[in-house]
């Protein structure tokens, strides 16, 4: 029964989108954190999705890994800050808040799509179970 495989496919996609929402939440939460050096500053994290072929017809998704953004960190001159280095600079994160917000909306829409696919498939399976009873 190949409708059963949709549960695996959509489930893997929902799990992948949850990972994306998780990283987005971490990035937004850390958008304003500062550190004493560029190496210690928070870097935005993004998941990399990869197709996971279960057989010729069904392809799920898994997360190949989480990569850190290579965008430059924000240097700010703030000599009064307790974390400031010898030159008086603190290093903010390289999170782009607008990009993360868009990411969040896209992930939530994709998640909703997969929930819808799951619900429709479940409905079809239940109707198939009742075949010949009506």
């Amino acid at each position: 029964m190949s409708l059963f495989k949709i549960f695996d496919i959509s489930g893997s996609a929902m799990s992948a989108q949850t990972t994306r929402l998780n990283t987005t939440a971490s990035n937004l939460a850390n958008a304003d954190t500062v550190a004493g050096s560029a190496a210690e500053a928070y870097k935005a994290r993004h998941p990399v999705f990869r197709t996971h072929f279960q057989d010729a017809l069904s392809a799920g998704v898994n997360t190949a890994g989480i990569v850190e953004s290579r965008a430059p960190v924000q240097m700010r001159y703030d000599p009064g800050h307790p974390l400031a280095d010898a030159q008086g600079y603190v290093y903010g994160s390289n999170v782009d808040v607008v990009e993360e917000t868009v990411n969040m909306m896209s992930a939530s829409r994709s998640y909703q799509t997969n929930v819808q696919v799951l619900n429709t498939s479940k409905e079809l399976m239940l109707r198939t179970l009742n075949l010949g009873k009506s």
Binding site: S2, I6, A13, F49, S58, A59, A107, L124, L131, G132
Partner: protein, 131 residues
């Protein structure tokens, strides 16, 4: 065996299996809407169904020594890559809206096939009970 089966269900059962497989492929497309380098696929339903129907008129074994053809419940199910309308820079060719529409269409067609099958079965049951 196959003729009475054909008379009762007249390919609706095969259509149901193909619809389920198409739902599978479309769900894969929707699941991979954000995956880089994923190419959207689909099943050519008409060609696949005619393949399945034609297969029954294929190899006939008229003598005991004849070798049977390989058992394949659904031979030659064709799936092909979709021609992208606006390919993305990351190599993904899934158009989520189109795929959603096709998935909904396929779900309705699946239900239609179920309704046909239900009608056949209830007709048969009515004839058997003789009420």
């Amino acid at each position: 065996m196959s003729t009475i089966h054909d008379r009762i269900f007249s390919s609706h059962d095969e259509a149901l299996v193909l619809r389920a497989q198409r739902a599978n492929v479309l769900a894969s497309n929707l699941a991979n809407a954000d995956t880089p380098n994923y190419k959207a696929r689909d099943i050519d339903f008409r060609a696949a169904l005619s393949d399945v129907q034609g297969a029954e008129m294929g190899l006939q074994r008229t003598r005991a020594g004849h070798l049977p053809a390989a058992e394949d419940p659904l031979p030659g199910v064709r799936h092909a890559y979709r021609v992208p309308t606006h390919p993305a820079l990351d190599g993904n060719t899934v158009d989520a809206q189109q795929e959603q529409a096709r998935f909904a269409e396929n779900a309705v067609q699946y239900q239609a096939t179920l309704t046909f099958l239900n009608g056949r079965i209830s007709g048969l049951m009515g004839a058997l009970k003789g009420e």
